[in-house]
Structures are given as C-alpha cells and as structure tokens.
C-alpha cells in the first residue's frame, strides 16, 4: 500500500469518527453530517481501492495523479464555501426579520422598553437550557 493510500485510509476513518461524535453531541446537525460522512467514505475509498486515484486522473486527463486529487479537493472546498455563504446569507435574512419582529413586539410591551438586556444565563437556568442550547 503506497503512503498516500495509508494516509487516506487513516484520514477517512478519523473523519468518520469525528463526524459521528460531533453529530452525537449535537455540535453538527444531521443535515450536514451526511455531507461529511460521504466525504469520509470517499477519502477512505481512495485509500482502499487500488488504482482509484489513477483511474480518476486518467478520466480527467491528468498525467500526474496527485494533481487530480488536489483538483477534486479544491473544487469540493469551493463548492462547500459557496454553500456555507448561502447558508449565512439565509440566516442573516432570517435574523433581520427576527430582530425587526422583536423591535415591534418590544414597543408594544411597555415593560420591555426599559432597554434592559436580558441576562442570558438567568434565562438559560429558568428554561433548563445551557448557553449552547442543549438540554442539561
């Protein structure tokens, strides 16, 4: 087994384990865990299937196999960043709407106009939530 294959196998297994653990602890939502499980399997496959990397390189018409790996990794990273930018944009829009709704609701409740910032820790204690939003 060539060196790169060993690295790919180890990285694939590690990524799989890490994704499992993060999902279990709710640090990563199920929606994104699927993407990372698939990536882990892909990395693992490059390591265990002999000639997989060379096959991909030939398919893409790239003479030097590691360059094919870099190309795929780079394109994957770009796509992921674009996707995350879209998620951030959508969340910003939702947050804006939420802030606007809060502003209008606060003005309708005279007690809230006192402008006191809520103590988030106290709120968390009352609701049985920690600051991270997980159940104690």
């Amino acid at each position: 087994m060539p060196g790169y294959a060993l690295i790919a196998v180890v990285a694939g297994v590690a990524l799989f384990a890490l994704t499992t653990e993060l999902t279990r602890r709710r640090r990563l939502s199920e929606r994104y865990s699927i993407l990372w499980f698939a990536t882990a399997v892909g990395v693992f496959a490059v390591g265990v299937i002999p000639g997989a990397l060379d096959g991909i390189a030939r398919l893409l018409g790239i003479a030097y196999a590691p360059a094919a790996l870099l190309l795929v990794a780079f394109l994957f990273s770009l796509a992921l960043i674009l996707h995350l930018s879209m998620v951030v944009s959508q969340m910003t829009e939702q947050m804006t709407r939420l802030a606007q709704t809060v502003a209008i609701m606060r003005s309708e409740n005279p007690h809230a106009v006192a402008q006191e910032e809520p103590d988030l820790n106290a709120v968390a204690d009352e609701t049985g939530l920690t600051r991270r939003g997980r159940l104690n």
Binding site: E93, T96, A99, Q100, T101, V102, A103, I104, R106, S107, V113, Q115
Partner: protein
C-alpha cells in the same frame, strides 16, 4: 382622516433626536412618530421615548435598510395609510413635509422623493459629493427609464401600496436609498420627485474621503445592477 406615520431611523442620535421629534409634532400634529433605534449605544431610545415617539428598538445594529424596513413593517401592521421617512439628525425640515405629502395625497404617485436638485430645491454640498450624486442619478435613470435627479435623498413619502411592498421587500444592501429607487420602480410603483430644501445636519458628520468615495461608487454600481436584475427576475416569476 388617513393615519400618517413618520418613520425616523436613528443610530446614536441621542443628542439631536429629541428636538427633531418635538419639532415634527409641533408642525405636523397629524403625524405619529416611530423612531427605529438601530442598536444605538447611547440614550437614543430613552430620549425618543421621553419626547413622545413610539420607539422600535432593534436588539442589534441592522444597518439603514433593515432599520427603515422595521418602520414599514410596523406601519403595515398598524394600518397606516401614509409613511414619510425622516432622518433623525434634523436635516429634514418638518415644514417641508407638505411638499412631499401633497402630491402623494393627490395620488400623483405611490412614492414621492424630496429632491435637492430639481428647480426649487437647494443644498449646500461639497462639489465632489454633488458630482457623485449626479452620476448616481444618471445610473438610476438609466436602470429605471425614468429621470431622477437625487436618488440618495432619504426624505420620502409612501402610500399604502408602497408601504406594503416595502414591508415585504426592502433592499438590505449597502445603499438603501439608491437601491430602493430602482427596486420600487421595478415593482411598478409610480415614483415622483419634488423639490425640497435640506438643512445642514444638527449632529454627526458625513465624511467621504477619496478612498471611501471610490469604494462607495463601486458599491452603488453593483447595487443598481443587482436591483435591476433582481426585480426583473421577480416580475418574470
């Protein structure tokens, strides 16, 4: 009697806003005032509440577009028929409100923009800023197919139809007044400019260095292009 609301976006205007609100109530008792406090760190909200305005306090800074839209959402929900947008820094003279209100009430257009540059309007401004505003006006005129002289004016009046559209979709980009002119026009709203006189700012300063002027210009061009593309896409769908 139609319900009328003056929407006043404010960010750290605590020193000037009380006078602006009082002056507005004094000259226009027919208007309610809603101050949108855009996450100010000073006493803007407290001062405005004391002056008798309804204060919509955003929990954090959204920027001018998000702040102005908050006023429109409130106006739409509370059933206002007319909204005028007034700056919280006192540069819009309440005595000029009649100029932008009259053509709206006469149903000459859905949105009336108070222009500093058509005949009858006056404004003392640095030459390079004046030039820049002229360039933007040409770009917006090109994008909308209607002649505009002052697209960065935030002294405006809106009727119910325009209020509902703005509550639903108001540009959140870097330059809401330029962008919104294009967007609203693309929604098929009738726009009209009338001459107004703008006062010098009571507080705060607008400084535009050369570097900022250039980035500002680029942003405006992008904003206009995107505004035009987006609205035509909306029309199609």
């Amino acid at each position: 009697m139609p319900k009328r609301l003056a929407v006043m976006p404010a960010f750290n205007e605590g020193s000037a806003i009380a006078r602006v609100i009082e002056e507005l109530y004094e000259h226009r008792p027919d208007f309610d005032v809603a101050v949108v406090d855009d996450g100010s760190r000073d006493k803007t909200a407290a001062v405005a509440t004391k002056a008798g305005a309804r204060v919509l306090s955003l929990p954090f800074n959204l920027g001018i577009g998000g702040a102005v839209q908050t006023g429109f959402i409130y106006a739409a929900e509370a059933g206002y028929d007319v909204v005028i947008q007034v700056d919280g820094d006192g540069q819009h003279d309440p005595q000029q409100i009649e100029a932008i209100l009259a053509p709206l009430l006469a149903d000459k257009a859905d949105v009336i923009i108070g222009s500093r540059f058509i005949d009858g309007g006056t404004f003392a401004h640095a030459a390079h800023r004046r030039f820049l505003i002229g360039v933007f006006a040409r770009l917006v005129s090109f994008a909308t197919g209607q002649r505009f002289t002052d697209t960065s004016s935030s002294f405006r009046a809106y009727n119910r139809r325009a209020i509902e559209i703005c509550a639903e979709d108001y540009p959140q980009g870097f330059l809401e007044s330029v962008e919104s002119t294009v967007t609203l026009s693309r929604y098929g709203l009738r726009m009209m400019e009338v001459p107004v006189t703008i006062r010098q700012r009571q507080a705060g300063t607008t400084t535009l260095s050369l570097g900022r002027t250039i980035t500002h210009t680029i942003k405006v061009c992008i904003a206009i292009a995107i505004g035009a593309l987006r609205a035509s896409h909306r029309k199609a769908s």
